[in-house]
């Protein structure tokens, strides 16, 4: 590393340190979490700027998990939305008078767009879509795998408003032969040897999908800084790794972009299930892409005691990669008998779909309640979780264990 870049790195860390000193941290509230959950046990609740109490995965770069109680409804509040950064330092300040989204590379007309440009020069588009980390629930993999040991809260659903990415690229004029666009945000590693977080999408995919947005609004408000202020990419149906936050540059390139976070990072086995036998390595891999079908029981929380002979309302959400949820079923006898849950309002095919069901437990003792979702092309979840070495694509029938009586 050159002396200059070392000095620069030291300066950035020093500046960050000054900010660290300027703020305290809420005390650990770990006892509030389900201590019977081995993945969450011992992890504190913390309150970061513009956020409510979230479960700490890592302090720096920050990774914060949404408690399960927020998934009893379709829309995840901005303040409860999970946070996941890859490199440190992260952006802590944005000046809109100087912030620009630059469109560069293989385009006819390079652009520098202000936030006002994004809002006024392009039609306003909206989509309600799930943003889920590729590694959500990685902590539940068996055998365990290295990486962020998330529980199930690295996901959220919001109404995103912004400019269509295809409209922005059309305004810039994509040149013949361009293959991909790359996306870079304001987060820059302290050392130049650390790979910057840059992702890519195929131009063909972008131009045929009007729901891919550069979003400047989340649930009717500006994005929290830690969720990508002032604008982030929204790629409905695909994992959050593509939803680049604090977006600052889009470069159109004429080859497949294969820097670290596209290869070898964020790859899945190149087969129909994205899975391999535990402990083995994949012969061929592809970049992770569309999400698997998932469903969760948010209420009652696992470990809750419910009275026998009285109706209990079960609530939660289900989602997939954009075919839309067709049906949610629940079982209260460990998976022998299944019955349909009631579905809530349809907020669009990329959204969480609320579900609810009423259950009157009769026998005192332990009861396992399970949830199973199907999308419109019949994709569902298995009884046994599939495995891959990076802990991606979690897709299994979920459950809560309750005490009756």
């Amino acid at each position: 590393m050159s002396e200059l870049s070392r000095r620069d790195a030291a300066k950035r860390i020093a500046r960050f340190g000054a900010l660290l000193a300027a703020v305290g941290l809420d005390g650990p509230l770990g006892s509030a979490l389900a201590q019977d959950d081995p993945v969450l046990a011992g992890r504190p609740l913390v309150r970061y700027p513009e956020k409510t109490d979230l479960i700490l995965l890592t302090s720096r770069p920050p990774q914060l998990e949404t408690p399960m109680k927020y998934f009893d409804r379709a829309i995840t509040p901005n303040e409860a939305f999970f946070v996941r950064y890859h490199v440190f330092p992260i952006p802590l300040e944005v000046d809109l008078s100087t912030w620009r989204l630059r469109i560069t590379g293989r385009v006819e007309r390079p652009l520098e767009l202000s936030l006002d440009d994004l809002k006024t020069k392009f039609p306003r588009a909206a989509v309600t879509a799930v943003n889920q980390c590729s590694g959500n629930s990685r902590g539940r993999f068996s055998p365990r795998v290295l990486g962020g040991q998330w529980g199930d809260g690295a996901m959220g659903n919001a109404e995103w408003v912004g400019a269509r990415l295809k409209d922005i690229l059309t305004a810039a004029g994509v040149r013949q032969g361009a293959l991909q666009a790359t996306f870079d945000g304001l987060d820059k590693p302290a050392f130049p040897s650390v790979p910057d977080f840059v992702k890519s999408l195929d131009i063909a995919r972008i131009m045929e999908d009007p729901d891919i947005l550069v979003a400047y609004q989340m649930n009717g408000a500006p994005l929290p800084m830690l969720n990508g202020y002032p604008a982030r990419l929204v790629v409905p149906g695909w994992y959050a790794t593509y939803w680049v936050k604090n977006l600052s540059e889009i470069e159109v390139v004429d080859q497949v972009f294969e820097k670290f976070w596209m290869k070898p990072g964020y790859r899945i086995p190149d087969n129909a299930c994205g899975c391999i036998a535990p402990g083995t390595a994949a012969a061929r891999t592809v970049p992770i892409n569309r999400m698997t079908v998932r469903s969760f029981i948010a209420s009652p929380a696992s470990g809750t005691r419910v009275p026998a002979g009285r109706p209990v309302t079960l609530k939660g959400i289900a989602f997939d990669a954009g075919y839309g949820i067709q049906e949610v079923q629940i079982s209260t006898d460990g998976g022998s008998v299944w019955r349909r849950a009631d579905l809530g309002a349809d907020l669009g095919r990329y959204s969480f779909r609320e579900w609810s069901a009423t259950w009157t437990p009769s026998q005192p003792g332990a009861a396992r309640v399970m949830v199973l979702a199907f999308n419109r092309i019949g994709e569902s979840q298995g009884r046994e979780a599939l495995w891959n070495p990076a802990g991606y694509l979690r897709n299994v029938i979920e459950h809560v264990d309750l005490q009756v009586g």
Binding site: M1, I13, F16, L19, L20, A21, A22, V23, G24, L25, P28, G30, G42, R43, P44, V46, Y48, P49, E50, L56, L57, T58, S59, R60, P61, P62, F88, I90, L92, E93, V94, D95, L96, S97, R144, V145, L146, G148, Q149, P189, A190, F191, P192, S193, V194, P195, M225, L226, Y229, P230, F260
Partner: protein, 103 residues
């Protein structure tokens, strides 16, 4: 409309509209103490080398592993992420992690 706003209220309105377009700055909480590394030979070298890029929860949350696992992790930090760690320090870190966070 403007006439019925007092000067104080008018200022407040101007401040609010200016605020919407101005800088957004957030402070950043310090690394949380729950991830403090266990004491043992090599803990200081491990802490110093690792925290220049990330907090120590990145270490303590991982599945327990033998020296081979931790050597793989430390090698990845150096080779893939370009962490400026000497061979000697890398050896110390692997020994520390395999002892304190071993299986």
């Amino acid at each position: 409309m403007r006439r019925i706003l007092g000067p104080g209220l008018l200022l407040a309105v101007l401040a609010a509209s200016a605020g919407a377009a101005a800088d957004k700055t957030i402070p950043m909480p310090a690394d949380h103490a729950y991830a403090t590394l266990k004491p043992g030979p090599g803990v200081e070298v491990t802490r110093q080398q690792c925290v220049s890029c990330h907090s120590t929860d990145y270490i303590v949350m991982q599945p327990r592993g033998n020296a081979k696992q931790w050597d793989g992790v430390v090698t990845k930090m150096i080779k893939v992420f370009g962490a400026p760690v000497s061979d000697q320090d890398a050896k110390t870190i692997v020994e520390y992690l395999a002892t304190q966070y071993g299986n």
